[in-house]
């Protein structure tokens, strides 16, 4: 086999064109990795928001809390259903009202919707993963609000001790900032449920009811009991399944957009790699002819140029992946299409995103290098050495 050092040094020798081809592939891998990391981030944020022993109940036919409404009288019935873990004073249940408010994004990015959740005081017992990093929980019956750590500082007034408008002429004051394990709750504003009920005129209604189950296996019995009474018109879902469904639209959107852009960039990068390799073959005709004269078979020449082009691709892939990894610290605020409100995502690298990036870069290298390598392998030694 023709030694690898021959390829490496030849690439270094022609460093300008090599660098151009490497950068082309790096750009594609960067875009692709970034979109894959964002999809992973969306899935982690939304898909990671559920717990296996929790169930959510919505009005039948609603696919999210925003469009759902159930009568407050149904909540005790839900709490009494089989499979619900009991807490003090009955089954562990929270009935919440979910609305959106248009707020001004900081940094001149216009208005966007923020999801506001009306919560009961018991929510912090219901969701022990919620942790206050600053301040405290809002008191019942007040205009106090707690905000998720991810939207803190992203909207006007969504900062510690500042006030913002829930809706016209109805303001609330931020008294605490909380984290919730990176889930989408961190992009929400939580206010006392009765305050929201009044402000948004949701008398007698909640958007959803959530229950803690005795065990994840208790869900089937619970679901059957809740959905049995057709007059209530309810639908029960595992919380995990609910959030997974919430992430589907957004994840698909990013995936399609990301792979679409990557695809067109990739065409360019493959063409770039091809041009580079054709130039290399033309430039090294005499060397190829010599190798053939010395007895290297066509296959060796083909392999050598394929390897060379794969080296370019791997270098580009590594560079692009590194650049994408640099996005790890970036928080990306974006509309979640299933709730029409802003959710803050992070670029989350996973072994799969890295493996895909590397695989795609090698594929690009081989695709760009194949025809030039074939041309090199087909050179007739006598002709090649005449040049």
């Amino acid at each position: 086999m023709i030694p690898l050092s021959y390829n490496v040094r030849s690439l270094v020798e022609r460093r300008a064109t090599t660098a151009a081809a490497v950068l082309g592939i790096a750009l594609v891998v960067f875009v692709l990795s970034a979109s894959l990391m964002l999809v992973a981030g969306v899935e982690k944020t939304l898909g990671g928001s559920g717990e296996p022993d929790r169930a959510i109940v919505l009005r039948k036919g609603s696919d999210n809390e925003l469009s759902s409404g159930i009568e407050i009288g149904s909540v005790p019935i839900i709490a009494a259903a089989p499979g619900v873990r009991s807490g003090e004073g009955g089954g562990l249940v929270v009935g919440e009202i979910v609305v959106v408010a248009a707020m001004e994004k900081l940094g001149g990015a216009g208005m966007s919707n923020v999801l506001i959740r009306g919560v009961a005081e018991s929510v912090f017992r219901f969701r022990p993963e919620v942790r206050f990093t600053r301040g405290r929980a809002p008191r019942p019956g007040t205009d106090e609000a707690a905000i998720g750590a991810r939207i803190a500082g992203r909207f006007r007034g969504l900062e510690m001790d500042r006030t913002f408008e829930l809706r016209k002429n109805r303001s609330a004051t931020v008294v605490g900032i909380f984290e919730a394990g990176g889930s989408s709750f961190e992009s929400e504003v939580w206010v006392d449920v009765e305050t929201i009920r009044q402000a948004f005129r949701r008398e007698g209604m909640v958007s959803s009811a959530r229950v803690r189950l005795e065990s994840p296996a208790a869900f089937e019995a619970f679901e059957e009991a809740v959905e049995q009474d057709k007059r209530l018109g309810l639908e029960a879902m595992r919380e995990i399944a609910y959030f997974e469904k919430q992430s589907e639209g957004t994840a698909t959107f990013i995936r399609v957009l990301g792979s679409g852009i990557s695809f067109f960039f990739a065409l360019g990068a493959v063409l770039g790699a091809m041009i580079t390799m054709y130039a290399a073959v033309a430039h090294r005709q005499r060397e190829i002819g010599t190798l053939r004269a010395l007895g290297f078979p066509r296959g060796s020449i083909l392999l050598s140029f394929l390897v060379e082009s794969a080296l370019v691709a791997v270098a580009g892939g590594a560079l692009g992946s590194l650049g994408a990894l640099g996005l790890g610290a970036v928080r990306f605020s974006m509309m979640n299409f299933d709730t029409w409100s802003e959710v803050v995502f992070s670029f989350t690298p996973t072994p799969q995103t890295l493996a895909t990036a590397l695989g795609v870069s090698i594929a690009m290298g081989l695709a760009g290098g194949f025809l030039p390598a074939l041309q090199a392998a087909r050179l007739r030694p006598v002709q090649a050495m005449r040049e």
């Binding site: 004269a293 007895g295 290297f296 078979p297 006598v382």
Partner: protein
């Protein structure tokens, strides 16, 4: 006399240019005895390089038979011909044809990569070849760090490293000054005498040709 190491019978070679036949070799017969040092002369365009390429298995005759080192090579398939070349023929080119990005040592090792040899053995053989051509102190130099004469000696080391029976040299001194020409010719003569290599050398230089044991002249498609 022993069997000739190169035997050509009725070799014809016609190139095609713009659909016009360009006859170069016209029914050539040739016997080269083993261990001879032959110089091939003739006017430019007479077909010297063409003939050498045919004998070395780089090109195929339009007609006729070529037997080299007991092997009828005109009918060998491509892959087998490449392997045969690597085992039988050492090449010395006018413009050296060293790979510029590899060191002298690595250039000389190239033909050995076609054999299953341990790394250490490859290194040893390459060092031996470089010692034979007097460049044992230049093993880590790149071609551009060597003089033309030194480059040609590296090429000769590369040509002999596989211990082939035959060396073909197409105007090996064509790019060299007087001193280097003498070094290279001395070296070739030594390889012929001491190692018994059969050498076929194309040259325009009558002084160079005098170093050979046989001088042949090619003209109008025929050997004189």
């Amino acid at each position: 006399m022993s069997e000739p190491i190169v035997r050509l019978r009725g070799v014809r070679k016609t190139f095609w240019r713009d659909r016009e036949p360009v006859p170069v070799l016209d029914g050539l017969d040739l016997d080269v005895p083993e261990g001879s040092f032959e110089a091939l002369m003739g006017p430019s365009g007479s077909g010297k390089t063409t003939l050498l390429n045919l004998i070395a298995g780089l090109d195929r005759p339009t007609e006729g038979s070529i037997e080299v080192a007991g092997q009828p090579i005109h009918q060998l398939p491509e892959g087998a011909l490449a392997r045969w070349r690597s085992e039988t023929i050492g090449f010395v080119f006018q413009s050296y044809n060293l790979l510029p990005v590899l060191t002298a040592q690595q250039n000389v090792e190239l033909p050995l990569l076609l054999r299953r040899l341990p790394r250490a053995e490859r290194r040893k053989r390459a060092e031996t070849a470089l010692r034979i051509v007097g460049l044992e102190d230049r093993t880590q130099h790149f071609p551009r760090q060597l003089s033309g004469g030194q480059e040609q000696r590296v090429t000769i080391a590369r040509a002999i490293v596989n211990d082939p029976k035959i060396l073909v040299a197409d105007e090996p001194t064509g790019n060299l000054d007087k001193g280097s020409t003498k070094d290279v010719l001395d070296l070739l003569a030594r390889l012929n005498k001491e190692l018994g290599k059969t050498i076929l050398m194309v040259t325009h230089d009558p002084h160079a040709a005098e170093r050979a044991t046989i001088i042949r002249k090619l003209d109008k498609g025929q050997l004189a």
